[in-house]
C-alpha cells in the first residue's frame, strides 16, 4: 500500500485552457507528491482528447477519470465531458450526470466544493482563464475550508472574466501569472 498523499491540487479552466495548462503541467516531475484534478469546460457530446494530449506532454500520467477511479499521487485526473467530477473523500473520484451548473457539465464549482470537503486546508485550488463565472463559488468554499486559493492574473489571461469573477468572490486569493503558478506548483512542498 502506498501512503495516501497529504495534499491535492485542483485546477479549473475554460476558454484558453489548453495553452494555459500546457505552461504549468508539463514541467511537473513524475514523482510529484500530490494528485492533480483538472476541470475544463468541454463540448458535451464529443470525446475529449485532453487527457491523451497531456499524457504525452507531461512527465506525470494524465487520464480521463472514470467513476470511482482511485486517487493516487502523481496522476492528473481530467473530468470527462458531460459529467460532473467530484471527490469522494480522499480516496476516489466520483462522477455524476446531475443537471448542468452555470450551463456547464463538468462544473468547476461542483468539483472545487467537493475537493474542499475532502481535503480542507491541504488543498490548493487554481482558477485559470475563462469567459464565464464558473469557479468563484467553488473557490470561496476552498477558502472557507482553509485551503489555498490561486487565480491566474486576468491581465495575461486569454479570457479574463473567469479569473476576475474569482478574485471578486475571493479577495484573499493569490493572483499570479502562469509562470509564477508554474513555479509555485514545482515547489509545492515548500509552500505549505
Amino acid at each position: 500500500m502506498k501512503d495516501n498523499p497529504n495534499g491535492a491540487i485542483i485546477i479549473g479552466a475554460s476558454a484558453g485552457a489548453l495553452e494555459a495548462l500546457s505552461m504549468i503541467l508539463p514541467p511537473l516531475p513524475a514523482t510529484y507528491p500530490y494528485p492533480i484534478f483538472v476541470v475544463v469546460h468541454l463540448p458535451p457530446n464529443k470525446r475529449s482528447v485532453l487527457a491523451a494530449i497531456f499524457d504525452l506532454k507531461c512527465q506525470l500520467r494524465a487520464i480521463e477519470a472514470e467513476d470511482k477511479e482511485p486517487v493516487e499521487a502523481g496522476f492528473i485526473y481530467f473530468a470527462p465531458p458531460n459529467y460532473h467530477l467530484s471527490l469522494e473523500g480522499r480516496t476516489h473520484v466520483a462522477l455524476s450526470s446531475e443537471e448542468e451548473v452555470l450551463f456547464s457539465r463538468p462544473s468547476i464549482d461542483v468539483a472545487f466544493e467537493s475537493a474542499a470537503d475532502a481535503w480542507g486546508s491541504q488543498l490548493t485550488a487554481i482558477v485559470l482563464t475563462g469567459a464565464n463565472h464558473d469557479g468563484s463559488q467553488g473557490l470561496s468554499a476552498v477558502v472557507r475550508s482553509g485551503g489555498t486559493a490561486i487565480v491566474q492574473d486576468p491581465s495575461e489571461a486569454f479570457a479574463r472574466a473567469m479569473p476576475e469573477a474569482a478574485i471578486r468572490a475571493c479577495p484573499s486569493a493569490q493572483v499570479l501569472t502562469l509562470s509564477k503558478i508554474s513555479t509555485y506548483l514545482q515547489n509545492i512542498e515548500n509552500e505549505h
Binding site: 477519470a65 466520483a94 462522477l95 470537503d117 482553509g146
Partner: protein, 277 residues
C-alpha cells in the same frame, strides 16, 4: 471553526439518511457522499430549511414531504438514445447474439422517466425482436416510474431524441412512434405492449429471474464502492453465461469485486458479457 462545522453537517446527513431508511425504507446510506451532500445542501436551500436536521424533523413526521426528498436525492437526467454509439453497439454487436434466442427478457434498471426503456423497445422493434421480448423497467422513484408509464415528453426534447436515434443507426423515423399535441410528444402506447414497470431497488431488493441483457446506466455512479458491488452482484446472478450487461459511458467494472464474472464485450461502450462461474 470551519472544520467542526463541516463535521456537524456530515452528522446531520447521516441522521437524515437513517431517518429515511427507518421510516420509509428508502436506503441512501451507502450512496456516494459527495453527491448526496451537494443535493441535500440544495434541498435545504430550496425548501427553505435552516439546517439539514430541521429538514429531517419535517420529513420524519410528514410523509407528504417524502416525494420532495426523493426528487432531490435521485438524479433524473435522461435522454432517448443517450450516447448514440452505445445503442449502435447494442444494435450491431449484441442484437446478432440475441437473435439466436427464441424468447428474451431484458431489464432496464434505474429507468428514470423511461427514455432509455423506449429507446430499447424502438431498437428491438426495428430489429424485429420486440415480439419475443419482455422488457422490465424498474426504478425507486415513483414519480419517475409514473412518467415512464405515461411516455409523454416535452416537445422541445424531441429534436435531440431524433438526432440521437439517427446517430444510433435508427432505421425508421422516430416520428413513426409518437404523436404530438399541446407541446408534448406522446409515445405510441403499443411500445408498452411487452413492458412491465416495477418499483425495485438495487440496494434493498433481490433479482427476479433470468435476463439475457441488463442495461443499468448512470445509476450506480451514485453508489459508493460497496454498494456498487452489491448491485453488480445482482446482475451477475440474474445473467446466464453469455448474458450482457451495459453500463453508462464513464462507468466500469475495472474496480469491481465481480470483474472476474465478466469480460469486456464492447470495451468503449461499456458493454460486458457474463462468463462462466
Amino acid at each position: 471553526m470551519t472544520e467542526t462545522f463541516e463535521k456537524v453537517e456530515d452528522i446531520e446527513i447521516r441522521l437524515l439518511l437513517e431517518a429515511l431508511y427507518h421510516r420509509y425504507h428508502y436506503d441512501f446510506r451507502s450512496y456516494a457522499m459527495s453527491s448526496i451532500r451537494r443535493r441535500l445542501r440544495q434541498a435545504r436551500e430550496q425548501l427553505g430549511f435552516a439546517t439539514i436536521s430541521a429538514m429531517q424533523e419535517r420529513v420524519l413526521h410528514h410523509p407528504e414531504m417524502l416525494d420532495d426528498m426523493l426528487r432531490f436525492l435521485t438524479v433524473q437526467v435522461s435522454e432517448m438514445f443517450r450516447d448514440p454509439s452505445y445503442f449502435a453497439a447494442i444494435r450491431e454487436k449484441v442484437v446478432p447474439h440475441l437473435r439466436t434466442y427464441p424468447s428474451l427478457k431484458i431489464w432496464i434498471a434505474g429507468c428514470s422517466s423511461g427514455e432509455e426503456l423506449y429507446s430499447f423497445v424502438i431498437l428491438f422493434r426495428e430489429e424485429g425482436l420486440e415480439e419475443r421480448t419482455l422488457f422490465y423497467a424498474t426504478d425507486i422513484n415513483p414519480e419517475a416510474l409514473a412518467q415512464a408509464e405515461a411516455g409523454i415528453y416535452d416537445i422541445e426534447r424531441v429534436r435531440l431524441f431524433t438526432e440521437n436515434h439517427l446517430d444510433s443507426g435508427g432505421k425508421g423515423s422516430l416520428s413513426d412512434y409518437y404523436t404530438t399535441g399541446y407541446n408534448r410528444c406522446i409515445l405510441d402506447k403499443s411500445l408498452r405492449r411487452n413492458v412491465v414497470f416495477s418499483d425495485h431497488s438495487l440496494v434493498t431488493d433481490q433479482v427476479f429471474g433470468e435476463m439475457q441483457l441488463v442495461s443499468c446506466r448512470n445509476v450506480m455512479i451514485y453508489f459508493d464502492r460497496d454498494l456498487q458491488d452489491r448491485a453488480v452482484g445482482l446482475f451477475r446472478d440474474t445473467l446466464p453465461r453469455n448474458g450482457f450487461l451495459g453500463l453508462g459511458s464513464k462507468e466500469t467494472l475495472r474496480f469491481s469485486t465481480h470483474a472476474d464474472g465478466f469480460r469486456e464485450f464492447v470495451r468503449d461502450e461499456k458493454i460486458y458479457q457474463r462468463i462462466g462461474s
